[in-house]
């Protein structure tokens, strides 16, 4: 199939959005998004942020419609079992029947009251760094509905917010926009779980997702984001986080591969003493292309960042990991660590990994490292000497490699779900062959 030119693709993408009914109070955001999207330079091989990730499969996609809720069948236990406030979207459209529970401050944009509308207007599209995230402007242009999680000062949300995005194949290749805005005021606490999943049938969609998070002074957010969709779905996602003084953000992200998946995380330490912890796992196989770009801006002193990403790349898949930490002149006494480890389980598998440290303050402690390796031969021998087949041993060691990040997840439902889901994935012949 032929590729649409960037310019045509941009226009096409915008016409799709035109089909929606839109809340007028979001018009400004949409207009600005539209302008930026049209002006933005389309990434090519020389565009640093997109160097290893061609958008050709997106341009070949022939997207002609806007997603709408369809009937779907999920695999057994595809969703988490947990007591939570649950918001389910199907191809971007809210599914009231599958959703449950509510809490003050948790509302869809389309249902927001005037105070909430004001909050959304003041923050939506303001946290995201559109320069580093091209598809944020498209998301802005597309914004209609989304989820606002607003937790007032000194308040703790008792239940986790569980936001599910289900994709299903549609008659014609369709696009969906997912938008989440999390605002934690001073000393507030919350847990947000985003779960992207799909009907098991082959997908033909493109999902653009953007989550913006403001963690207020001394507030605390736990955030999980899982991309467990079918392998044909194209997903481009971004998570942008601003941290006020002494704020804490603990994030975990896991992605299976697909024909094109690109996830950006940007964390800005805006106030002193903030802490960000971000762990991630990526698991591309077959011919997947999976790209994680993370960027941490240390703008204030005494902040800490701990970031650990691990990937297993199988078959002829390609993964990209780019982890940048930028320490501004004022960010003295920063402690930042970034580790990226990769396991290649086939000769055709590829990883481009690049940790980038840019340090403009003198009194800081930073460490970063990236490794690419194969399974440890001594461990293989040990397991086989206890009667495990070579394949069993490979599976166990590969799983162990990422399980180091899974086993300590505080949220039991996520931990158990991923353990079960990934055990099944790893048992499939192709993954660690």
């Amino acid at each position: 199939m032929s590729e649409t030119s960037p310019q045509d693709f941009k226009h096409l993408a915008l016409t799709l959005a035109g089909a929606q009914e839109s809340a007028p109070w979001l018009d400004t955001l949409r207009f600005e998004g539209t302008e930026q999207w049209l002006e933005a330079q389309w990434p090519g091989r020389r565009t640093e942020l997109w160097k290893y990730t061609p958008l050709s499969s997106l341009q070949r996609g022939q997207f002609t419609s806007w997603g709408s809720a369809q009937a779907y069948t999920l695999a057994d236990e595809a969703l988490l079992t947990l007591d939570a406030i649950r918001l389910v979207f199907v191809n971007g459209e809210f599914d009231a029947q599958a959703s449950s529970g509510d809490a003050a401050g948790v509302v869809r944009f389309s249902q927001a009251d005037s105070t909430q509308q004001a909050l959304i207007e003041a923050n939506l599209g303001k946290i995201v760094d559109t320069k580093r995230h091209l598809f944020a402007s498209l998301s802005n242009a597309w914004t209609q509905d989304g989820v606002l999680v607003h937790v007032p000062k000194n308040t703790k949300l008792e239940l986790p917010i569980y936001i599910v995005h289900i994709s299903t194949p549609e008659a014609a290749a369709a696009t969906a926009n997912h938008r989440v805005l999390v605002l934690l005021e001073e000393s507030a606490q919350a847990e947000v779980i985003e779960h992207f999943v799909s009907d098991e049938q082959q997908q033909n969609g493109f999902v653009n997702s953007l989550t913006e998070i403001q963690v207020g002074a001394n507030a605390h957010l736990s955030h999980y984001r899982m991309n467990l969709e079918e392998e044909h779905l194209i997903h481009i996602g971004g998570v942008h986080i601003n941290l006020a003084s002494d704020a804490q953000y603990l994030g975990f992200t896991l992605s299976e591969g697909s024909q094109l998946k690109r996830i950006d995380y940007q964390i800005c330490h805006k106030g002193k003493g903030a802490h960000a912890g971000l762990n991630g796992v990526y698991l591309p196989r077959n011919k997947h292309l999976l790209d994680y770009h993370t960027n941490v801006e240390h703008e204030a002193p005494h902040c800490t960042t701990s970031e650990v990403f691990r990937g297993i790349i199988a078959d002829s898949a390609r993964a990209v990991f780019n982890g940048r930490i930028h320490i501004h002149p004022d960010a003295q006494k920063t402690l930042a660590e970034l580790s990226n480890k990769n396991l290649l389980t086939s000769d055709q598998a590829e990883i481009d990994t690049k940790p980038e440290l840019e340090i403009y303050a003198d009194d800081v402690k930073c460490a970063h490292g990236a490794t690419v390796s194969q399974l440890d031969q001594t461990s293989m021998f040990y397991l086989r000497s206890r009667g495990l087949t070579e394949k069993q041993a490979r599976t166990m060691l590969s799983f162990g490699f990422i399980n180091e990040l899974l086993q300590d997840l505080p949220q039991q439902a996520v931990r158990e779900h991923l353990h079960r889901h990934l055990t099944q994935l790893f048992d499939k012949d192709q993954f660690v062959s």
Binding site: Q377, T378, S379, F381, Y382, L383, R384, S385, R386, G387, L388, T389, E390, Q392, M396, L397, F399, G400, F401, I402, N403, E404, Q407
Partner: protein, 249 residues
């Protein structure tokens, strides 16, 4: 049980074992002693099929089968067990899952049904008690952060769970405190049976006070230079190895 005839073996490109012969009958315990670098671990590695270790000539028969033709895991399923001199740490792989997979593999080979997770857990807990390892170790990563002595006890626990017919203990006593030494010895003794044989590699006569061998062999320079009864160990303790080299020469 095990019959090694005129074995020559090399590691990478170096010839290590030379014309080594050893016959072990069911129920026997053979101790192997000898200086550092003599080839004791190499023998264990050859027997268990470790990659990089190659028998260049000679034969090894294990329970009537040609051992050298078997895969690593086949040997294990047939009942050969090597307690490692340096057990491997595997973070992220739960000890319990690993143990269950290995016991399942052995049981399947013997035509026994797989154990349910619940039954296995019960047995594993009981066994960990027998080697004085807290049951919490079952939940940790394989040997992850275990002390030297805990790793050795974990090896013995695996041996007990797998019920092998030939157990090779490579310096399982090194790094053990007195209590742990007794625990390990008691474990081995509890497993002694007319059908099960042991090769105990050690530097210390002390262990052989607890695990009394039928034969003691001295391995030096890749060959067995002397064999005898348990009193040979005492003699070695008193005189060291140099007199043997004179004797051979």
């Amino acid at each position: 049980m095990l019959d090694i005839r005129n074995l020559n073996a090399r590691v990478e490109e170096t010839e290590i074992l030379r014309n080594l012969s050893l016959n072990i009958k069911p129920g026997e315990i053979h101790a192997i002693m000898g200086p550092n670098g003599a080839g004791k671990s190499t023998l264990g590695n050859i027997l268990s099929g470790r990659p990089g270790y190659e028998a260049t000539s000679g034969e090894i028969e294990f329970n009537g089968k040609n051992l050298l033709e078997m895969d690593i895991e086949e040997r294990a399923r047939e009942g050969l067990f090597l307690a490692f001199q340096y057990p491997v740490e595997i973070p992220g792989v739960s000890n319990m899952e690993f143990l269950k997979a290995s016991v399942d593999a052995r049981r399947k080979h013997l035509g026994q049904p797989e154990l349910s997770s619940f039954d296995f857990m019960k047995i594993a807990r009981e066994t960990s008690k027998r080697v004085s390892l807290d049951a919490a170790f079952l939940k940790r990563g394989v040997n992850e952060g275990f002390s030297g002595g805990e790793k050795k006890r974990n090896e013995i626990m695996q041996m007990m769970l797998l019920e092998p017919s030939l157990c090779i203990l490579d310096e399982t006593d090194s790094g053990l405190d007195i209590d742990a030494l007794q625990v390990v010895a008691a474990g081995v003794n509890s497993m002694r049976s007319p059908e099960r044989s042991f090769i105990v590699v050690t530097h210390y006569q002390r262990l052989l006070d607890f695990i009394v061998p039928d034969y003691v062999h001295v391995l030096a320079g890749g060959r067995i230079v002397k064999s005898g009864g348990k009193e040979l160990a005492l003699e070695l303790e008193a005189k060291g190895y140099s007199w043997l080299e004179d004797e051979v020469a």
